[in-house]
Assembly symmetry: C2
Homo-oligomer: 107 residues x 2
DNA sequence: CTGGATCCTGAACGATACTG
DNA sequence: CAGTATCGTTCAGGATCCAG
């Protein structure tokens, strides 16, 4: 682990700290099948500010959930994708979505 | 839904708001098989203060993820358990745990 | 025993402008 | 295009004491 996990009392606690936060779940889900550039992510994650996007991407990268590939071109190009560890989370985020959709429709 | 969900951009977002927070995952997991009293929960969720325990339990109850049963006795007795909706989350929290344990051991 | 009431701090998040 | 920098705000969470 690269990020500072404050103090996990158990595995559930630990996991939530790594994918908690306002945007991490959404970003991981958006990246589930493919490579996206910074600008594409910015459009996909509606409402996020550049600061939060950068910050969140850095944390996810430090946690080794996403991979950041820089192309040395002009204009600059950077692509983000899931690491294997990140991909392991997709089934579970998928479960979350299913549950969330069901709940939302029953309000 | 009874609780105030600020604004969910998608189902993932929505789900995270409902089981996010510092203790919700742990509490749901602890309640996975059985009824626990307030004091038992307080001991089980190491480090939680009475205020946070009460607050979290109220949110979970308002979200209909847990059920609160009051026994009219002296001294007071209150038992908490999962609702059906709450139980639906257990498989997924279980996935989280598995993933979290694997990650923790590979640091 | 099961909480409620208060006060407070820090971290997360947001708005806006700027840069290589 | 892909970010930084700076400043401001909000709110979850914590400490402590009190109550039915």
């Amino acid at each position: 682990m690269k990020n500072k996990i404050k103090k996990a009392h158990c595995a559930v606690d630990y996991a939530f700290q790594r994918i908690g936060g306002k945007y991490k779940g959404r970003i991981l889900w958006i990246l589930r099948d493919g490579f996206l550039r910074y600008g594409e992510l910015k459009r996909a994650v509606v409402g996020i500010t550049p600061k939060m996007l950068t910050q969140t991407l850095k944390e996810l990268e430090a946690d080794e959930l996403i991979f950041r590939k820089v192309y040395l071109e002009v204009p600059p190009k950077v692509e983000y994708s899931l690491t294997d560890t990140g991909k392991e989370l997709i089934p579970f985020i998928s479960l979350m979505r299913t549950w969330g959709e069901k709940q939302m429709s029953s309000d």
